[in-house]
């Protein structure tokens, strides 16, 4: 919040007559808020940090302003190569840009607990992860904080598990393909992890999952680099014990799959202050303010501009200095990351991904199979039909 206030004050100082009003939203709340805003015509002039697939959905429905001007103002060459590919729309224009990168499904582990359990290396496969969690789970300490709730985190994280088993939700030409061996393997593994997660994981979203690891209630975690700042501020005793890795997969033959929601910045088409909004959007990348924003939670949102990563002021941060290898790993993982709107480099951009996530169809699948114990074939069939209906709507 302080970083945004700094950027707003700096922008207002150089842009007389413009006043920026800041409003917050949440991972679970932005979709209905924005839908209501678009429907009423009372839209914000600029929106940040929503996942790229939500931006593509809105652009496809004519709700957003093309963002090419802003990217040009920032400097297209300033971005890492391909950083804006995820924002290229079907008409060839950009629907927004990334205000950062995030590696949202990193595996966080406790070195002290691993050592006490006789585990030498960070798990790379699901079998290793499960065995490690079983070894580290003792009275009052659980193995992992995986989400099983009816929310977007469960959907987004489970999509990662599908890919970590070699599966996919859509074919590259966007036919529904969730009923595959990878999904079945992911469901089986996810079910086997249930007894290694806290009882309340059935309602976990991002906040609860993060807190479970940071507070020391679980031996492993699954989150972005925000873990680093939260441990420093809330549980510094763990600061020297934690490290991260890409999340394990079914076998090492399968490449890691990092979920990057490509936190965005975009401008609604109904904005009444488009020029000012575009100027402010470009101003958000001004090094002084941008670095403050990145430093608010080092490692959580990673820079998309090459010059920022190398900037000594950016590097001059206690967490980035201390946890350099972790931050570098997250940056590399995020740069090669994907999400449902961009499942692989070979997939078409999926303008319906935001609605698929908003429907909770994939979280429902997890809950049906793992909590209700429903038949996998039937649950997968229902999920595929639900997603197909959204794609055809």
């Amino acid at each position: 919040m302080a970083a945004y206030q700094f950027q707003i004050a700096a922008f207002e100082a150089v842009t007389p007559g413009v006043k920026v009003v800041f409003e917050t939203t949440s991972d679970e709340g932005y979709a209905p808020q924005l839908a209501a805003a678009f429907a009423s015509g009372e839209v914000p002039d600029i929106v940040t940090h929503l996942p790229s697939f939500a931006v593509q959905t809105d652009y496809a429905n004519g709700l957003l302003e093309p963002f090419d001007d802003v990217i040009a103002a920032i400097g297209a060459d300033e971005f890492y190569p391909g950083a804006n590919d995820v924002y290229r729309a079907a008409d060839g224009k950009y629907c927004g840009t990334g205000i950062g990168n995030s590696a949202a499904n990193m595996l966080w582990v406790r070195r002290d607990l691993m050592q006490a359990a006789g585990i030498d290396t960070t798990p790379e496969t699901w079998d290793e992860l499960r065995a490690a969690c079983q070894a580290m789970q003792t009275g009052g300490l659980f193995g992992a904080p995986l989400p099983y709730g009816q929310n977007s985190m469960t959907s987004l994280i489970f999509i990662g598990f599908i890919h970590q088993a070699g599966g996919q939700v859509f074919t590259p030409d966007l036919q529904v393909a969730i009923d595959n061996d990878g999904t079945r393997a992911a469901l089986e593994f996810y079910r086997s992890m249930r007894e290694l997660c806290p009882p309340g994981a059935t309602t976990y979203s991002w906040g609860e999952s993060l807190t479970a690891f940071v507070s020391g209630a679980t031996a492993t975690g699954i989150y972005t680099g925000r873990v680093l700042a939260n441990v420093r501020d809330q549980n510094p005793a763990l600061a020297d014990q934690i490290t991260c890795a890409t999340y394990p997969r079914l076998s090492t033959d399968i490449a890691p799959w990092t979920f990057n929601d490509f936190p965005s910045v975009f401008i609604p088409a109904q904005s009444k202050q488009k020029d000012a909004a575009k100027a402010f959007a470009a101003f958000l990348f001004d090094p002084e303010g941008y670095i403050q924003q990145l430093h608010a939670a080092p490692g959580h949102v990673l820079p998309v501009l090459q010059s920022i990563s190398a900037n000594p002021i950016y590097q001059d941060n206690d967490i980035i200095r201390k946890c350099g290898p972790e931050v570098d790993l997250m940056a590399a993982s995020a740069a090669g990351g994907f999400n449902l709107g961009y499942e692989s480099a070979g997939h078409q951009s999926n303008a319906k991904a935001g609605e698929v996530i908003g429907s909770n169809a994939i979280a429902d699948l997890v809950q049906k199979v793992i909590i209700n114990g429903d038949n996998v074939d039937q649950a997968l069939g229902e999920t595929a039909a639900a997603i197909d209906a959204i794609m055809k709507a």
Binding site: P32, A35, A36, A39, P198, Q367
Partner: protein, 299 residues
């Protein structure tokens, strides 16, 4: 039958009557009739929420609702929630009103404090209860484990039937003060001679409650049940914040379906069709209930 021509004075009175009633009719149309007709009209279209663009589908949305088989489970969930929480509200509310009607110490303070759950915002109440029920840090699980009731924390909100029970209990806690206020006000107007006569006839406390107090409370309880049933039937925020409708759809009541259709799936027309269906069900229940209570009240 003879026709009667209005005098100029009668016509002026008639015009004055129309003029006086016109603001009420206009406001009624603006806040009741227009939204109702709009909802019915919207339900006949397939509409994408953010753009409000869509196409005419006639009764297609209703056909989809009834054809999907999703309506009855959602209605059943809504009824379980409504009946469960309303019953507890009435039982706790009447019991507490009876206690607060006695000459107890700090009666005024107790009467004020009892309203606390009703006054605090639902968001705050839900946050507090979710914290109390938290599996890792909640006081409730801590007490259950210390008392030896369970070895591992209970999952209050993520599994069934715990989730429904928890939501019903929190709903009862949040809204029972309304019953207390209404019942307490009525208790204070019951004539004391009725109790004296009952005592002379040898009635004990329980008999006095069932033979004197409860019949006297009947009319106010009818109103309470009617109002609270309507409010509970369309309750959204408490359930949404507590469970989000989960696990799976186990606590997904009709208002949550409407919300999910409108803003999760961006299908405003379908959401309107759900809302109209929900209103029709509520109307049927209310008509039946009012007729039943009128019939019993005529004896």
């Amino acid at each position: 039958m003879t026709s009667h021509a209005q005098t100029p004075l009668e016509r002026r009175y008639a015009m004055l009557g129309l003029a006086l009633i016109a603001p009420t009719v206009l406001i009624f149309c603006a806040v009741i009739v227009y939204p109702l007709i709009s909802a019915i009209y919207l339900s006949l279209f397939q509409i994408f929420t953010p753009t409000l663009q869509g196409e005419w589908v006639g009764l297609g949305n209703y056909a989809a609702i009834w054809g999907s088989g999703a309506f009855w489970p959602a209605l059943w969930t809504t009824l379980v929630w409504t009946v469960g929480t309303l019953t507890l509200q009435i039982v706790f509310g009447v019991a507490m009103a009876l206690v607060l009607h006695q000459n107890i110490w700090f009666r005024s303070l107790a009467r004020s404090l009892i309203l606390f759950p009703y006054f605090i915002s639902t968001v705050v109440a839900v946050l507090v209860w979710k914290w109390v029920m938290n599996d890792l840090y909640g006081i409730l699980n801590h007490l259950l484990i210390v008392a030896g009731v369970t070895n591992v924390p209970l999952d209050f909100l993520g599994s069934m039937p715990n989730a429904m029970v928890s939501v019903i209990l929190v709903g009862a806690w949040k809204y029972f003060p309304f019953v207390v206020i209404a019942v307490l006000a009525r208790l204070q107007t019951i004539p004391e001679p009725l109790y004296e006569a009952a005592r002379i006839d040898g009635a004990g406390p329980i008999a006095r409650f069932f033979d004197v107090t409860l019949p006297q409370l009947r009319e106010v309880l009818v109103v309470i049940v009617l109002l609270r049933a309507i409010w509970d039937f369309k309750e959204f925020d408490l359930i949404w914040l507590m469970t989000g409708g989960g696990p799976v759809n186990a606590t997904q009541t009709l208002p949550l379906v409407v919300y999910r259709e409108a803003f999760g799936l961006n299908q405003m027309g379908m959401a309107a069709a759900w809302a109209v269906s929900m209103m029709a069900v509520l109307l049927v229940f209310m008509v039946v209930y009012i007729r039943q209570t009128r019939a019993k009240g005529s004896f």
